[in-house]
Amino acid sequence: MPILRCFLLFLLLYPATVSAFDLAELIRKVEQQYNGDSSEIELEMTIKTGHWERQLKMESWSLGRERFLVRILAPAKEKGVATLKVDREVWNYLPKVDRVIRIPPSMMGGAWMGSHITNDDLVKANHIDEDYDFTLLEEDERRWVIEGIPKPEAAVIWGKIIYRLQKEPLVPIEVEYFDEEDVLVRRIVFDDVQAVSGRTIPLRMQVLPVEKPEEKTIMHYRKVKFDIDLQEEYFSLGRLKGRR
């Protein structure tokens, strides 16, 4: 879509001229920042709770917004545990018992890999620009504050999302998630902004549940490659099990 590309370029070049009409596009861009058309990323996930703290190393692949695969590399106990998302379905692979488990809709709100990210985040987050209506709350020279309210028919778990975006370069600073009673439930804070593989993105994101201040999940991107050669067939149950 060359016209869209031009439009995006236009957005990036003239961020100050953004209007309500473009807000959804802006959010789409932010939500897709780690995906690109395709991506291959190595990351570390640190999960801290009141009872334990652990670090997972993993690698992930994505294609468009509907295909995503992540596999744990370390620690040894979980090595090979993998999650595959295709469209709105999620599967887990457990090497210890050599079984693939489909996550039923009722478990979408459950924690993904014991982190503060839910299965639902994996499946639906990439559709936020479609499921929400956006309004510009604040704007100054350096940043926008945008509020997203679910469209009436949208089946989503958040009651409200507030984005704080940096204009130049366009990166998120912080996203706040509210429940249906308009109570702040969790925050995601972004930092370590760097230019990698032709883009400028924050390499670190921290998920902070508001109710448990001592807990958090930190995702730190170590190796990032965008626009690599991946086919849809790559995202198969066979690949989930680690077979070529």
Binding site: T49, V81, V97, P104
Partner: protein
Amino acid sequence: MLWQLALRNIWRNRRRTLLTLSAMVISSALLILCLGVFSGMLKDMLASATEQYFGHLVISAKGYQDDRDMFANFPADLDLPALRHPQVTGYSPRLRSFGLLSFANNSAPVELLGIRPQHEQQVTSLQDHLQSGRYLREEERNGAVIGAGLAKRLAVQPGDELVFVTQAADGSIGNDLLQVSGIFSTGDQGHDNSLVLVPLGWLQQLLVLPGKLHEISLRVEQPRQAAILAGQLTGGMPPELEVLDWGQMLPEMKEVVASYDVSRMIIVTILYIATGLGILNTFFMSVLERTREFGVLMAVGMRPGQIRLMVLLETLAMGLISLIFGVGLGVLLSLYMAFVGIDLSGSLTPITYAGGTILPRLHAVLETANILVPAVVLLLVCLLAGFLPANRAARMQPVVAIREE
């Protein structure tokens, strides 16, 4: 003398008296039966909630039962005097986990209860509700007894291998295989659709909680008195543990039990208003028919108070007679329903309500209150229904009454 007169008076119109008496006998007998069946349902409900899952009392870390936090556990080797209390007839140490159970392409969220088979059978009765397969055995490593609804949803039968995934206490992804030993069906949708019994040791290992428990469930001699016993046992508990009775774990059930007494009075009232009106009618007629006689009795010196008392004694006599036969018949019917009962499972499915399950059967239990309340109220109704005619008789003017034909 008044008694004698009253007794003879009620037999004056034999047919009418017998009709009224039979109405009273039948209504009180049916009432006793009805309350007995009602109590039976309540007992089934309470039993399904306690004897199929909770137990009558539960020892757990303070606050555990509110959110079932995995980390609110305690060591299995604590020495708890409560377990040796004479009223405690059995106990079962348990560990609980929530997670995803999967077979082939089907997965379902489940509640796993890690148990020791011999102990669990002292407290709950799932072993009596097996639909297929068998209960867990002591030596079994990874057997699972699962609810019928869950088995259907996962499309499994005894012998099939299941995967269970959850988050262990160290944050790791706990996952392991289970083998279906048996499938239970209690009629309680909640349990049948999500409960799985597994060996305690297996679950302790999976959750990385070696030697730890979430609760010890107790069976006691008198379930209705569980709250009192809970209070007594609390004293001997380590400070971090608490004893909860079923009423605290199932507040709705407690309310159902409490509202039962109210419902009982409502049923008694409704049925007896009808009976009472019948008695009232009979006695009004019998008093009006005897107007002249009352006039004569007053003329020869009987006081109005004695007239009133005589009529009241007549109703009381009717009450006592119907009471004896009504209670007798009611107890006989209740005994029949207690020992034989009526099975309705052909046309009804179990109903789960307030955490308990009402089974599709009519089955009575005999409780003193269920006999006493109808009996006492029957007498009260008789006296009440007799009061108006008695007053009317007492207020008659002898001169007018004697002239009456």
